[in-house]
């Protein structure tokens, strides 16, 4: 253990230092690419009439509770104010006070990010991105309820059952286990009377969005929300008014999940840095320990203690012997 050359020492020292300094060397983002097979939704705000058929169908097929209005003593009406543990999908209305023509419906649900922060954050793989389809779904039987997915999601999508004794996380999974499985289409897309929200492969949906933009340039905002945000999402949007008006956060095109993973992987790649740090520290500590007078003193104390213990053990043996006779 003690026979280390100077070179070894420098090597371990460098590696140990890397553990602390690694975050500084974080490089540019790699590019994220959507899978060609990835599926998603395309919502065209200009086609939506706000009938909320999608909201009620979502609740029906996914067995979600009603969210009664405050003061609704009959508790007859489902009137969710926002996404929460009872509502995976919601329709809202934006209205400009000054300009009557500037109003638009908007639909909110999980964006099924191409590089989802919730999946990257979850410590126990309870949040998963399905290979191929790219659907981001959740397994409550694994989840520990740490809510890191909530902290991580840039769209604030995962919701938690706060009032429950045994709560779970709730979010849209594109009806993976319900409507999609039965009818090959998410419930909201199935029932929409105006085709404001449609289901399909992301690349086809994106092409369709661009076609509509080109055919009707005055009608739409230039941006397709979700094309680039946080590295791209499988749910994309067209709208006639700015996306900030519709309650969407303004987000970088790079993915914070990738950034975080990069830092983490630089530090922990192959566990080399922590092991090197350990080796480095052990080397120094052992070397220090052996400085001359310390060793002498150490032996003295250790010896004293060993003698004492030996003595006690022998005494015990003898006592036992005597007891037997």
């Amino acid at each position: 253990m003690m026979k280390k050359t100077r070179r070894d020492f420098l090597k371990t020292a460098a590696a140990g230092g890397a553990l602390m300094l690694a975050p500084l060397s974080v490089q540019a983002q790699q590019e994220i690419k959507a899978d060609d097979e990835a599926v998603g939704m395309f919502y065209d705000s200009t086609l939506c009439v706000g009938c909320k058929a999608c909201v009620s169908k979502c609740k029906a097929v996914n067995d979600m509770a009603a969210a009664p209005m405050p003061g609704d003593s009959d508790r007859l009406w489902d009137a969710p104010e926002d996404l929460d543990y009872r509502t995976r999908n919601i329709i809202k209305l934006y209205k400009n006070e000054e300009d009557v023509n500037d109003h638009a419906y908007v639909k909110h649900q999980c964006m099924h990010c191409i590089k989802p922060a919730c999946v990257s954050a979850c410590p126990v793989s309870a949040m998963v991105k399905e290979e191929g389809t790219g659907i981001v779904f959740y397994d409550k039987n694994i989840c520990i309820g740490c809510r890191y997915c909530q902290v991580a999601c840039p769209f604030n999508i995962p919701k938690f059952e706060w009032p429950e004794t045994f709560p779970k996380i709730v979010k849209c999974d594109l009806c993976k286990f319900t409507n999609l499985k039965l009818k090959n289409i998410p419930a909201c897309c199935e029932v929409c009377p105006t085709n404001a929200v449609i289901y399909g492969k992301r690349k086809d949906l994106l092409a369709e969005a661009k076609r509509r933009q080109a055919a009707n340039p005055g009608k739409y905002q230039k941006a397709i929300y979700g094309e680039f945000e946080v590295g791209g999402t499988n749910v994309i949007y067209l709208a006639g008014t700015s996306f900030e008006n519709l309650g969407f956060p303004k987000l970088d095109h790079e993915s914070a999940a990738l950034m975080s993973e990069h830092v983490q992987h630089t530090v922990y790649k192959g566990f080399i840095a922590p092991v090197a740090l350990y080796g480095f520290l052990a080397f120094i500590a052992l070397k220090n320990r052996k400085s001359a007078d310390q060793v002498a003193h150490e032996h003295e104390v250790e010896h004293e203690l060993e003698v004492e213990i030996q003595h006690e053990l022998e005494k015990e043996k003898e006592e036992k012997k005597e007891g037997k006779h």
Partner: protein, 403 residues
């Protein structure tokens, strides 16, 4: 291990003091509220929301209190790596404080996680998610809890070995068998006890990297891990000083000279931290935001001022000679360093939309209860086991021999 088992002594005093009962009261109150939380759900006791899913149970009990509990880590670095054996008498009380601090973190995580019965997921390799910063933090903190308990073991064993009247003969027997073996390998555990905090303290910073769109740019940077590890170090030293002075006052022991000398290290560490912090703000072009005079800027200035003042005091020899000034500086650094962590975890955190968070009373008292429990445990342990540094002069020959 290393040398001087004679450095420590049992603090001989009554256990059932008035302070004990006060702490017991808050502990019980906290535990009652925890029981309520387990029956009625987290929503019933806390102000947490889908916008602020983490409150003081994470920001204080985990992110900040484990930094306060870095005394053992910081001291081990000085003693075993920088080879300053003269500080050795301080290590046990630092380790015991660390042990209770990390236990508190572990307990509040179990209060905070909603689906605690699934926590065994961490032991199932099929569920491991190495991309997750939290995975690393959780596993590392669990491991460090075990390491800390092993590190405190010698004190417990010594007590049983040196017991005058043989009340527990079996225990004494086992203690005598384990002790020498533990003594031989302890150095390797101690090193693990330096490696693990280096890992998870930096990762506590990495944890918020993924929340880029929510964390204010004054605090969001890719070097959060670096800032957190240095921050943990100076908080660790400050806590050792604080804890030593506090117990000197509470237990009417003489001040520990080593502690005053130890305070010399701090300005170097905070100096590095402040430089890194400012260079980072400058490179990212956030200096003007940091001094803009708005709410976030004031929170940043509070953090800065506390740390600067503490550092300034400890830079001057005259001040370092006054126990009171050293004590004040240590407190400023603990609060300032902790403030930084609060800024990262709560104050600088703003999710998109109309959310706000301020801890509820039950939330607050659960934290108070856990802290009271921690202090209570510390006070009882030092009265039963040889943990406190031996008072100089007592058993004069022993003390002289030890140096």
């Amino acid at each position: 291990m290393a040398g001087n088992h004679n450095d420590y002594q049992v603090h001989k005093a009554k256990i059932l003091t008035p302070a004990f009962y006060v702490l017991l009261f808050f502990t019980l109150l906290g535990f009652m509220l925890i029981a309520y939380r387990f029956v009625m759900g987290i929503g019933a006791v806390s102000n947490l929301s889908d916008g602020y899913p983490w409150g003081i149970w994470i920001a204080y009990d985990v992110a900040t209190s484990t930094a306060f509990a870095c005394g053992g880590y910081a001291m081990a670095l000085v003693i075993y790596i920088m080879n300053r054996m003269k500080y050795h008498p301080l290590i046990r009380s630092a380790l015991v404080t660390s042990m209770f601090g990390y236990m508190l973190a572990g307990m509040s995580v179990m209060v905070d996680v909603g689906r605690y019965w699934n926590a065994y997921s961490f032991f199932m390799p099929s569920r491991w998610q190495p991309n997750s910063v939290m995975f690393e933090v959780a596993v590392c903190i669990m491991a460090y809890n075990v390491v800390l308990i092993i590190e405190v073991m010698p004190a417990i064993l010594e007590r049983f070995i040196h017991m005058k009247e043989n009340k527990f003969p079996k225990l004494k027997h086992y203690a005598m068998i384990i002790y020498p073996k533990l003594d031989k390998v302890l150095i390797f555990i101690v090193i693990l006890g330096i490696t693990l905090p280096s890992m998870h303290q930096s990762s506590l910073g990495s944890m918020l990297i993924i929340a880029k769109s929510k964390l204010n740019p004054i605090w969001h940077t890719q070097i959060l891990p670096l800032l957190f590890i240095i921050n943990a170090l100076y908080i660790g030293y400050a806590t050792v000083i604080f804890e030593s002075f506090a117990s000197s006052m509470a237990f009417k022991r003489p001040f520990e000279k080593e502690v005053q000398q130890l305070s010399r290290i701090i300005p170097y560490v905070t100096g590095i931290w402040l430089s890194v912090r400012f260079i980072d703000l400058y490179i990212r072009g956030q200096l003007s935001a940091a001094f803009a005079g708005d709410y976030y800027s004031w929170m940043f200035l509070a953090e800065l001022l506390l740390i600067l003042t503490g550092t300034y005091i400890l830079m001057w020899k005259q001040y370092r000679q006054s126990p009171r000034m050293v004590f004040i500086a240590a407190m400023l650094l603990m609060i300032g360093g902790g403030w930084y962590r609060f800024n990262v975890y709560i104050i600088g955190f703003k999710p998109h939309g109309n959310w706000s968070y301020f801890p509820s009373l039950p939330e607050f008292f659960i934290t108070v209860g856990l802290v009271a429990f921690e202090i209570l445990g510390y006070m009882v342990l030092i009265k039963l086991f040889p943990i406190m540094p031996k008072v100089h002069g007592e058993h004069g020959s022993d003390a002289a021999k030890a140096h």
